[in-house]
Subunit: 366 residues, 4 copies
C-alpha cells in the first residue's frame, strides 16, 4: 500500500478532502467487459450517505457518483475508472475554532506535526468523508465479483455499541436493514435508539464493533505470508478512520482457546471438505478455506464532541475546546457500508492475484 | 506488500521452508554507512531460538546468521543485505503422517487447495521457522534505528496465555527476561509454568496475547490513510503465523468508550505537547503522536497437537489425526521477539518514508 | 509501475480517455508546504495544447487545469493532489469508420485483442490526449524541484524530424521557443515548416527525435540496478505514446566507441569533480554524476493518416482504411513538453527516494 | 521497480557483490506445480559463464546454481525460490588501486558520492557478475513459459560490435551458437575475432548492440500506458549494467519514417490477423500483436581498461589510472544471455499480469 493507494491488481487510489470541491478515486485493474453504470454504484453510496436520520451527521449530501472514464457503451474497458463525488454542503466556518487548536483524540495534532500545514475544514483529508470514495470503489468490486463468483455475498452489521452487545442467539440477518444501526439483533436495535439519544443529549459520542462476513468465497484466495488474505483484510480495515482493532474469526479470543478447541475439524461433504466449526474465520495460513470469511473491527468514538476537553493550540497555549460542526455521535454506524466495501475490494484483488499466480486451478480433494 | 516482501523503502523479502537447506531474507533499502556485523543480529535470533527450555519446541537449531552481501569493512553499503540461516536439525520423517492428511486448524488444506502441491515437511513455508528471517531483519532495523533515533526502545512481552492474564498493577519490565514466557507479571509467570506443564501433559496447546511497545518514537511517522502507521503495523503483525487479531492502543475496547473517555487530553510540557492519557496507543490519524506506540496481537494455539482430531486426507478419506513432531505448546511465546522485530522494521520503514515525504521537518508548536 | 501509476514516492496515477467528459491524474507524495496554484501548472499545459498552429491537431481545447484536492491556502498539504482537465471539443462521429476497423500501426487491434471491448472515439485511452495529465503532473514536479534544487533546469527540443537533423554547431537554446517545432537549430526550423506542409498535403505523417536535458541535477540520484535513474527515465519516456527508442548520453552510438573514447575523464575543479566529456549523459551505474542528464527518444509517425492502408475489421474482413479526424502530422512536436514533464517527475521522485535512503548526505571528495 | 526488485507478479530480487561469498536472487510469484531442477537453470548460466574463451574475462567461475527453497519433489510450490551462486575465484588484491580512485566511465564515483562507502572489490554491486542472478531467474521464467506457451522461443544475438555490423541478408540463426560472439552473420563473426584480438592488444575495449527476439508471444500481453510491455522491456534492458540505449522494432529509426512506411498493414490469414511488416517490433500501444517481439540495446565499452585515463581519487588528487584485473574487452558479448533472461522474465510477468486482469480471454476477430 502506498500513501493513498490500496490493492495489488485491483488498485484504488483515493483523493479529496471534506471541504474541497470534490472527492473521488481512481479504480485501476478492473477487468474489461463488465457491465457497469453509475446506478450500480449509487445504492451503496446511498447506504453510507450522511443525514439519513438523527443518528448520523446532519450534513446533507446527495453523494452523487460520476463515472469520468474507463466505461464505454456500458461496459468496462479495462482502463482506469475515475469516480467523482462533488461536495455540496460544506459549512467551513463551523471549523474556525479548530483552525489553530487540536481536538483531543483527533488527527489535528499529528497532521500539524508531520506536515506543518493542514486543511482544518471538516478535518480535511482525515474526515470520514473520504470513505465515500471507498464505498464507490467497493460498488465496482461487488459488480465484478457478482460476475465472477455469482454466489458470493458480503454482509456488514453492528455487533456492539458502547455497553450494548448483540446476543448471537437473536441474530436475524433480515433485521439489519430495518434499523438505523445495521443491527441484526432487534432487541439491541431498540435499546440503541434510546442509548444514542441520551449520548447525544449529553454531548458525547460512543464506540462500536462492526462485523463483516463474506459467504461463498472460494477456497484458495490469499498467500502464505505477506499478502495473506487476513493480513490484507486487516490492513484494509485498519486504514478506515477511527478503527483501533481488527479480528479474524475468533480474533483476540483465540488467546483463551486450547488447540483442541481451536481445531476446526474436517469431514467430507457431498461437495468437498466441510468444517465442523469456523474459529479460523474462513482463513488458514493466509488462504481462504471456503468457509465464511469473518472480520471484525472496533471503531473508536467520534473525537469531535460538544463536551469541553483540555488541549493546546499551535502557539502552545492551553485551552478547553468544544467542537461544533455536524458530527456522527457514533461514527461506527456509517462504518458498516465502508467495511463491506473494503471486504469487496480485498476479495476481488485476491481473486485477480490468485488467477495470476495459480490460474485459478485448485488442488483436488477426493 | 507483495507475496513475500514487506515494507515500502526498508523492504524485507523472506524465503525458505522449515526443512529445506536454509532460509533467509533480502533486506533492501538499508541506509549506507551503518556499522553492522553478524554479532548485531545474532542476539535477537538467540532470543527466538527453539529448544531453549521445555516450553518451546525441542528442535535444536543454532540459528547462526550469515551476512552474504551488502556490508563491506563493517559498514552497510546501501545495497541489498542477504541474511542466511542454515537448517540443521530437520527430522522430516516425523511428518510422513501429514503428507496426505490435513491438520485441523493448520494451513495444510489451504496450501493444498491453492497450489495443489506442498512441502509438508515441518509445514514447509507455513512453519513458524520463517519468523527467524524476520527476527534477523529486525536486528538490522534496530541497529539503524539506534543510529537515527538513539532513545528509541522496543519491548515485547506476554500479557495473556489461556486463562491467565497479567495484572497491570504488577507490571515490572525487569521481569520480562527472567522467565521463559517473557511475562512482566512475576505472579502470572510462576502460574504459567505449571499451567503449560499441564497442557503439555494433556497433549494440548494454548493461545496467547503479546504486547509490543515502542518508546521514544518521534511524532510525525505514518500517513493519513493507506500507509497509516497503524495500518502497516497491523498488517505486519497479522502476517505472523497464527495471529488472529491485532489492536492499537485500547483496541477492541474502544467500542465501549465514550468520546470524553477516549479523548487523550493535551497539555503543554517543557519539551512540547504532553498527553494526559494514551488510549490512542501513540497513533492518531495514522501518524505517531510521540507517545509510546502500543500494539497487541493474539496468537492462536498451535494446531499440531497429539490429541486426535477428525480430518480428511487428499483422497477425501476421513480419519482421526494426531500430529507427531516437535511443536511449541504455546507458539505465542516465541512470537514475542518476532513481534518486536516487526515493530522495528515498520518503524524504520516509516522513518525513511517520512524523510522522503517531508524531509523530517516538523510543524512547530509553541 | 503499475497499470496506470508511475513513480516510487512521487506517484502519478493518470485516468481518462480522449472523448470522455474529462481526464486527469492523482499526484501522490508531493511534499507539504509547497506554494502551488493552478497558474503554476497552466503554462506547461499551454505549451502542449493542441491547435496552436497548423502543424498540430486542429482540435481546439482550452485544457484548463483544476486542482480538486491536496492544496489549502495556496500550499500543498502533503495529501493527494487531484488534477482535472475537461474535454470540450470532441467530435466523436469522425471516428465511426474505425469503430470496427483497425488502423495499421495503431493500438486499435491490440486493445481489441486484449480487452475485447474498446472506446474507439479518438483512440480512447491510447490517445495522446492522456499526456495532458502528465504535463500537469510535471508542472507540480517542477514547482517542487524549483524549491528544493533552485538551479535545476529542464529543456526539451526536437533534434530530428524525418530526414532533417539539427547541426549541433548551430545549437541555440534561445531558438527553441521561437518556432512551432521546438527546434534549437534555426536553419532546420525553417526547413521543417516547408517539409511538414508538404507532408500534410501528401496526407502523410512523420517521425521525430526529441532530446531532453536537465542541468543542475545533483550527483547521487538513482540506484545501482533496478531503480536506476536511467532505467526509470527510459521507462518513463517509453511509456509515452508512440515512443519506440530511448537513449541516455551517447545511447546506441556507444556501440561504436572504444573504452578510451567512452571514458569521461575527471579532473578536480573549484567546486568538486569536473568531467572532461559527457558520453555517459550524466548517469554512471544508475546514479547521477552532477553533469547534465541527457535523454533522447524517437517518436514514430502518427498512424492516423488520410492515405489508404490495407487492414481488417473485427469481422475479419479485409478493407482499405483512411483515417479522418484531426491528427498531428508529427506527434513528436507535442511530445517535447511531455518528455520534459516526465523528466521532472522522475527527477523529483529520485530526489525523494534518495533522501529516504541516504538522507541526502554525500560522500565527500577532496 | 524497487531498488533491487523487478517485476509485478513474477518478481525477482537480486543480491550480492562481485567479491562477496555468494550472490543470488529470490524469485517470487512462480506458479506452482512446474517441474524444476537445478539442471533446468544451469545451462543458461553456462552460456553466460566467464572464462570460456579469450574474448571474455579470465575469471574462472563454475557458477553452479543452488535451489535453496520453493521446490519440493521436483515441482515448484508457489512459494519463493531462492537461487544462490557461490563466488569462488575472487582476486580482490587486483583492485587495491581503485579502492580510493575512480575509474572514468565507471560507477565508482557515483557510488562514492551517493553512499560515501563502497565495496570496491571487483566493482562490488556494480559488477556485471550480478547478471548471473538474472540469468538464473530467466531460467525459471523460460521453464514456466515452456509450460504455458509451448511454441514461444527467445533468441539473442550480437548485431554490432564497434565498426562491424551484421548484414541482415546473411542472417543465419544456426550460426549464433557457433562463434564466441553470438553473431548470426558468419562473415562478421570471423572479422570480430581479429578485431577483438587487436583491441585487447591495444589495451582497449569496445561497445556492441544486442538484439533479442521472442517468437510465438501471444497477442494481448502488456498494458496501455505505464505497465506497457515495451516500457517494462526497456526498463529491464536498461537495468543491465553498461546499457545506454534501448529500441523496440524500428526504434530510433522510426524518426525517419513516414506514416505510410511505418504502418504495418494487416491482412486476414488462416489463423487470424497477419501483418505485412513488423516496424512495430511486435508491440502496439504497449500490447503485444502476436508478431515477433524485437528489442535491441547498446552496451557501452568496458570502462576498466589498461590504457591510462585521467581521473581523481577520494582525496581530490588528480592521477592517471590504468585498471588491472580481469575484464571483458567487450562486455556486450556476455550481455546476450542476460538480455534473453530479461526478455523471459518480462514476458512471463506480463503473461501472469494479463491473466489477472483479463483472465487470458481474447477479443475475437472474424
Amino acid at each position: 500500500m502506498s500513501f493513498n493507494t490500496f490493492g495489488h491488481i485491483f488498485r484504488v487510489t483515493t483523493w479529496g478532502e471534506s471541504h474541497g470541491p470534490a472527492l473521488g478515486c481512481t479504480v485501476d485493474g478492473t477487468p474489461p467487459g463488465i457491465a457497469l453504470t453509475e446506478e450500480d454504484i449509487q445504492p451503496w453510496l446511498d447506504r453510507r450517505k450522511p443525514g439519513q436520520n438523527k443518528f448520523t451527521t446532519q450534513r446533507k449530501e446527495p453523494d452523487q457518483v460520476h463515472i469520468l472514464s474507463g466505461v464505454f457503451d456500458g461496459l468496462t474497458t479495462g482502463t482506469p475508472i475515475q469516480l467523482m463525488i462533488e461536495n455540496t454542503n460544506q459549512q467551513s466556518k463551523d471549523y474556525n475554532d479548530i483552525a489553530q487548536a487540536f481536538r483531543p483524540g483527533h488527527a489535528d495534532i499529528t497532521y500539524h506535526q508531520k506536515y506543518g500545514h493542514r486543511d482544518h475544514r471538516g478535518g480535511g483529508r482525515s474526515s470520514a468523508r473520504e470513505t465515500a470514495a471507498r464505498v464507490a470503489a467497493g460498488g465496482i468490486a461487488r459488480k465484478v465479483l457478482a460476475t465472477f463468483v455469482p454466489g458470493l455475498t458480503i454482509t456488514g452489521y453492528m455487533i456492539q455499541m458502547g455497553v450494548h452487545q448483540i446476543d448471537r442467539r437473536r441474530f436475524d440477518a433480515t433485521q439489519i436493514d430495518k434499523n438505523p444501526f445495521w443491527c441484526p439483533d432487534p432487541v439491541v436495535a431498540t435499546n440503541l435508539a434510546t442509548y444514542l439519544d441520551e449520548l447525544r443529549l449529553s454531548q458525547n459520542s460512543i464506540g462500536a464493533v462492526i462485523e463483516i462476513t463474506a459467504n461463498g468465497v472460494p477456497a484458495g484466495l490469499g498467500a502464505p505470508l505477506y499478502a495473506k488474505l487476513d493480513s490484507d483484510l486487516t490492513s484494509a480495515m485498519m486504514s478506515i478512520n477511527a478503527v483501533k482493532g481488527v479480528e479474524i474469526g475468533d480474533g483476540m479470543a483465540t488467546a483463551a482457546l486450547t488447540g483442541t478447541d481451536n481445531a476446526d475439524e474436517i469431514r467430507m461433504g457431498p461437495d468437498g471438505p466441510e468444517f465442523l466449526s469456523n474459529h479460523a474465520g474462513g482463513i488458514l495460513g493466509g488462504i481462504s478455506t471456503g468457509q465464511p470469511i469473518i472480520c471484525r473491527f472496533a471503531v473508536k468514538p467520534t473525537s469531535s464532541i460538544l463536551t469541553p476537553r483540555r488541549t493546546i493550540n499551535t502557539k502552545g497555549e492551553e485551552l478547553d475546546l468544544i467542537t461544533k460542526g455536524r458530527h456522527d455521535p457514533c461514527v461506527g454506524i456509517r462504518a458498516v457500508p465502508v467495511g463491506e466495501a473494503m471486504m469487496a475490494c480485498v476479495l476481488l484483488d485476491h481473486l485477480l492475484l490468485d488467477r495470476a499466480h495459480t490460474g485459478g486451478y485448485r488442488g483436488l480433494i477426493g
